[in-house]
Amino acid sequence: MEGGRLDRLSVDSVLNDLDEYAVEEALRIAEAHGGNGAGAPHSVTVISMGPERTVDVARKALSMGADSAIIITDDALAGSDALGTSKVLAALIAKGDFDLVICGTESTDARMSVIPAMIAMRLGWAQLTFAGSVTVDPVAKSAVIARMTESGVEKMSASFPAVISVVEKINEPRYPSFKGIMAAKKKLMEVQTLASTGIDANLVGTAGSKSTVIDAVPRPPRAAGIKVVDEGNAGTELVNFLVEKKLI
């Protein structure tokens, strides 16, 4: 990763737990190979898209130890779907000189879990997603991950550049130190607008969304069920209930 940069990106408007895992993993990769920061061989850049409070999100990542931040905030981005979000983030990443982009993954059921793969597809980069562990070889410019999904554990490898997404519990994110918080105030935070990416505003946000919500209604609460106190026979009563419901 000589002259290269490690990067991490947030796809959410708050630095949630999973984004912290991504920041932590980026810092650990840099630290394992000579470190990041002034005079060190690597740098860690935070990239985030969202409303104006995204500044606070990026600041927290900087206080954990990232070197600089690029954030994009623009009213035209509000309401972006996964296609729009991945388009903007891919455009920001393409403008930099990064070897690895590390993202959080929400649980396998969350909407945002598709965005890292979509970014990789847009960039034409390798995708190493749902990583439960990451090993980077800066000399060979390659990474190996353990991909953890319902299909089991797959060992996958790819050369740089690659998009990596990490699962919860890959590491224990550090707390920003007092020194880190003070240092973060002096770090570079570049704020971009949509115009600087060259993307047409009609292709992102609500205007560019390729799906439309027709309605959203609260679901009725579940009807009250049967409640029994076990007096030595509740296991049998339970079996009778399952039989009655044709569940066994």
Binding site: D17, D81, A82, L83, S86, S107, T108, D109, R111, S113, V114, I115, A117, M118, A120, M121, R122, G124, A126, Q127, T129, F130, T149, E150, S151, G152, E154, K155, S157, A158, S159, E168, S209, K210, S211, T212, I214, D215, A216, P218, R219, R222, G225, I226, K227, V229, D230, G232, N233, A234, G235, E237, L238, V239, F241, L242, V243, K245, L247, I248
Partner: protein
């Protein structure tokens, strides 16, 4: 009549049962074609499994590169088929793999995507249940092919016998889809139990097990169920994290969910409250999980579960 494509996934040595759920939903909106991406030389063998449900046509693409290069290889092949055959919709199961494939196909075909739907209507309106089961959302893809991922167990599949027409296609996977390589695969350790998110029945244990999951596992096994766990149980190291049900774990929506010794924190409820029937066993009559119970037992799981396990076994023998 619209053409609806569904992705038939191979799980182990069989076609995943979610394929028939996709086909059943697809038939609401049109004539169903299943795409089968099979290892080289094994297309016909797996296609023979697609002889049930409203599948009218099977397109088989054989290549060992699907297993070797993961999501992008499958996404490219599917996108090629969509571009040449122009169906109205593509339905894929909501697994980690399925959602990533759907996302990449959406990018490649410049189409809209809706994830984690539980129903699809004749006009391709998708129903999603969000915010931990508190809201129902209807939405529609407004541009390109409707790419919709469907949660396992959302519906009971139509399994009537069928004889679909089988065609073979040959597709070249481009180098840009071969950038990451699978070096090895360890299948999940399930102890012979069904996969958690696909299981018809899930029996879960929490703090109330005090770390002893044996009565939970015994009841699961007699029911042919998967075993789940609350975050309290997985954080305590009593059960693997891969079995955690909840906001930061897996979302399950089985026909029957049995919560044993689980208090029912929001975090857990978000992962299971769309289950069709919910049974609760808890010593604490005030446990919030009772609010969700169709059948609740205030009692000790170490007494209730063994009795219920015996009861089910006696009925089956």
């Amino acid at each position: 009549m619209s053409e609806i494509f569904v992705l038939a996934e191979i799980a182990g040595e069989k076609v995943a049962k979610t394929t028939f759920e996709l086909a059943t939903l697809g038939a609401h909106a049109g004539s169903v074609t299943a795409i089968l991406l099979a290892p080289a030389g094994r297309g016909a063998e797996f296609a023979a499994h697609l002889n049930a449900g409203p599948i009218e046509r099977v397109i088989v693409v054989e290549s060992d590169e699907f297993a070797r290069y993961g999501v992008p290889a499958s996404a490219y092949a599917i996108s090629q088929l969509l571009t040449s055959q122009k169906p109205s919709a593509l339905l894929i199961a909501s697994s980690a793999f399925g959602k990533e494939v759907a996302g990449c196909v959406a990018v490649l075909t410049d189409s809209g995507i809706i994830t984690d739907a539980v129903d699809v209507a004749a006009d391709l309106t998708a129903t999603q249940i969000i915010f931990g089961g508190s809201m129902t959302v209807h939405s529609r893809v407004s541009s390109g092919i409707s790419i919709i991922t469907i949660r396992p167990n959302a519906i009971t599949p139509d399994l009537k016998a069928s004889t679909p027409e089988i065609t073979n296609e040959s597709i070249e996977i481009p180098p840009t889809a071969k950038l990451a390589e699978v070096l090895s695969l360890e299948p999940p350790i399930t102890g012979g139990r069904p996969e958690l998110t696909e299981a018809q029945i899930v029996v879960s244990g929490g703090r109330g097990t005090s770390g002893d999951f044996s009565p939970v596992e015994a009841f699961a096994d007699v029911l042919g169920a998967a075993v789940g766990a609350s975050r309290a149980a997985t954080d305590a190291g009593w059960y693997p994290h891969s079995h955690q049900v909840g906001q930061t774990g897996k979302t399950v929506s089985p026909q029957l969910y049995v919560a044993c010794g689980i208090s029912g924190a929001i975090q857990h409820r978000a992962g299971m409250q769309t289950s069709k029937t919910i049974v609760v066993i808890n010593k604490d009559p005030e446990a919030p999980i009772f609010e969700l119970a169709d059948f609740g037992v205030v009692g000790d799981l170490f007494a209730v579960l063994p009795q219920a396990t015996e009861g089910v076994r006696a009925r089956k023998s």
